[in-house]
Amino acid sequence: MKTGLAVSFVGHAALAAWGLVSITGDPGEFEMQASLPVEIVTIAEMTEITAGTADGDPEVEPQAPEPEPVVEDERVDVLNPDGEPLDQTEEAAAPPPDPEPEPEPVSEPEETAEALPETEPAPEPLANVPLPPEKPEPPQREPEPEPEPETEVAEPQPEPEPEQSQPLDLTNQNDFNPDRVAALLDKSLEEEGGAVDAPNTGDTASLGSSQGLGSRLTVNEIDALRQQISRCWNPPVGVQEAQNLVVRLNLELAPDGFLYGTPQVMNSSFDNTFQIASEAAVRAVIQCQPYTMLPVEKYDVWRNMILNFDPRQMLAG
């Protein structure tokens, strides 16, 4: 009997937990069920909750990447803020600022090799026919201030923006206050559906974070976001035809709906096309900003977002 009860408890608890996790974890459902009620019922609550948010933003902004790069526009800078990081990365090719023309045009030796294994246009090909001789020279490396960066695919490198993300993390962590767990639970159980609990509202002094789970994006808001990004997403043919090529991006957004920094690619793949897929995804997100359909009152909810670009459904034929 004892054990029976225990087993029963544990079993039920596990089931409940599974339910919670799986339901909330699935973005699909997100729109369908959970959020609807929010939209209808809790408007008032949400507005209250979010009162504090506005102030928070300013702090964040400063972090925006500093422009040093070539580009003047701030926004732009943001996009490719990484003057330095880039340098580190592979592309030697970056054009040096006006050095003398000759030697260094950097060609791509390595790049070519990786990107276009089969084609490898440059070098040998020419050899066949009396045509073009060949060969790319080794990239020269000069320290380049700003040039092009490239965030290559696979590895999400630490970008300059860590700071921005941090704030979020902190808040999240604050959320877990073990002591308050029970209370949280009760709440959520009681008023399920609607705005759930805003766990840490009080805790985080900063930014008046409303953050709560209480405010969520509504179905309409998510749909609008999805549509806007879909319009800009141009998956190249090679990406459309590669199977299982999902790109997961992490975005940091400013309150005005513009991006902070370049979206980070969170996953990787051995597929050669992955780099191209991830570039297309990043390009779509950059190109389609600002995301003004996201209400400022819920900034804490969407300031940091994950987007999964999944081309599989597009290949119906």
């Binding site: 009997m1 225990a6 029963s8 544990v10 409940a16 996790v21 974890g25 973005p27 699909g28 070539v70 003047e72 996009l79 490719n80 970056a94 054009p95 600022p97 050095p99 023309p101 045009p105 950097v106 060609s107 070519t112 276009l116 084609t119 246009p121 440059a122 040998e124 090909p125 020419l126 026919v129 009396p130 073009p132 001789p133 040039p147 092009e148 960066p149 490239e150 965030t151 999240n172 877990f176 767990v181 759930v196 969520r216 999805r226 990004i229 997403w233 141009n234 998956p235 043919v237 370049t262 191209i276 570039e279 995804a281 990043v282 909810v301 994950i306 987007l307 999964n308 597009m314 034929g317």
Partner: protein, 453 residues
């Protein structure tokens, strides 16, 4: 009794307590997870809008004025290649805000974002002391703000067009994720003269219609030229000796030879993927069967043996299977068999007659000509016969040939009428983006070369 009950209750309470702990523990975890997932909005983007990539191609700059013409011409060739592929939309140069003056500087991406160019190509042509030119280019991701590719080539100035094709391929591959097909040639039958007295010559040209060269003199009828996958050779059928025979021609040297010593007419030749063999049809009486000949040992092997016309054989890229057409069931249909001739199975199941099957270089599809209700269609199907898709149709379309990347087909289309004649056309796998391939006169029976490099 009471004590017993008490014990039971105690035990029960303990169990309850333990259960609660367990429940709490699980809930803590659950809340943790919920917090995380809810705190971070996660959205799936499953629909995109595939469209030609807007690409800006300012003229390649020249380090000296004399090289400027080559720079502009190269840009023109690259732009034309990319535009014709249907996957790129070159931005009108009139919209350019920025003039590239220094190839070694990163562009101001804002100036290109404003005009919605997603990609930008900059280049420079520099004459070298030894008489060659150096061509450099960079491909930029305008919105990502980074260089995607940078290469340079040294070549004789006369080869600028070829370099432009190679650069086009590099751009195509870097942006689409698929190999390009611009640095290729087409061999085809050039047709001149009145409709009832056409002179047919073998001709070869770049994939975009330039650099045409004639390989035969037009005194004898030639048909169905096919490129070797490995050498600068072409195999074709000619009436040169009076009777139709399969020939082998070296493009570089002009050397020609008859393939095999067969008693009857041979036709419909094609190379094996390794370039070591030629498969073709041999007519014997009212029948035709398929033979393979090893080009080194000259050994021939008979692959089909049926009282029907078996022709148009084409190897799968792995060399293990052969697709061909046969009328053994009463009408022309498409069959697949092992490379040794075993296990022929009909794969075409639709209405109409099927002919000229060609296996895609990728192996995933077979292209064919289909006659249905008096019209000629070009289509593709999977090697098991499923997924048939028609890409183009009309009065007369025939003889598909694959681009080396398996995304584009070229074929010829006959225009009816006294002034009509065959023209070369290309269409991509989506069935959109039909393009006329320029030829100096009429042209038929195109065959696409592999990538030259």
């Amino acid at each position: 009794m009471r004590s017993k009950i008490g014990r039971v209750e105690t035990g029960h309470r303990m169990a309850v307590r333990r259960g609660i702990f367990a429940l709490l523990a699980v809930i803590v975890m659950a809340v943790f997870t919920v917090n995380e997932t809810l705190a971070q909005v996660e959205v799936d983007i499953t629909e995109g809008r595939p469209r030609p990539t807007p690409i800006a191609l300012p003229d390649f700059i020249a380090s000296v004025p004399e090289a400027q013409q080559i720079g502009s011409d190269m840009t023109g060739v690259i732009s034309n290649n990319l535009q014709r592929s249907g996957l790129f939309a070159p931005v009108n140069p009139a919209a350019f805000i920025e003039r590239t003056t220094n190839f070694d500087d990163a562009p101001n991406f804002d100036n290109w974002r404003v005009i919605n160019a997603e990609a930008l190509v900059t280049g420079r042509v520099t004459p070298e002391p030894d008489g060659r030119i150096r061509v450099e280019f960079r491909l930029w991701d305008v919105f990502g703000g980074q260089q995607m590719l940078g290469q340079q080539y040294f070549t004789d100035p006369q080869n600028w067009r070829r370099v432009a094709h190679i650069i086009s391929d590099a751009i195509y591959q870097r942006i689409t994720g698929e190999a390009g097909y611009f640095d290729t040639r087409i061999v085809f039958v050039d047709e001149t003269g009145a409709k009832d007295a056409r002179s047919k010559r073998l001709a070869i040209m770049d994939q975009d219609g330039f650099n045409i060269r004639y390989l035969t003199d037009g005194n004898s009828l030639v048909l169905t030229p096919r490129f070797s996958p490995t050498n600068q050779e072409v195999t074709y059928m000619s009436y040169e000796s009076g009777q139709p025979r399969v020939y082998l021609l070296n493009i570089e040297t002009g050397q020609r030879e008859v393939v095999g010593d067969f008693p009857g007419m041979t036709f419909a030749p094609r190379f094996s993927p390794d370039g070591q063999r030629v498969i073709m049809s041999l007519q014997q009486g009212g029948n035709a069967n398929i033979y393979a000949m090893d080009l080194r040992s000259r050994q021939t092997v008979r692959l089909t043996n049926s009282p029907s016309i078996d022709t148009g054989p084409s190897f799968a890229p792995d060399g293990r299977r052969i697709v061909f057409e046969s009328d053994r069931s009463g009408s022309q249909q498409i069959y697949v068999m092992g490379a040794d001739g075993s296990g022929a199975t009909r794969i075409s199941q639709g209405e109409g007659r099927y002919s000229t099957p060609v296996w895609s270089p990728r192996g995933d599809l077979i292209a064919f000509t289909k006659q249905l209700q008096g019209r000629f269609l070009i289509g593709v199907m999977r090697p098991d016969g499923t997924g048939e898709r028609i890409l183009t149709e009309g009065f007369h379309n025939e003889g598909p040939t694959w681009a080396p990347n398996g995304r584009v087909l070229m074929f010829f289309r006959d225009i009816p009428g006294a002034q009509g004649g065959p023209q070369l056309w290309s269409v991509d796998l989506t069935g959109f983006n039909e393009q006329r391939v320029p030829t100096p006169s009429f042209g038929s029976d195109p065959a696409w070369s592999p990538l030259l490099n």
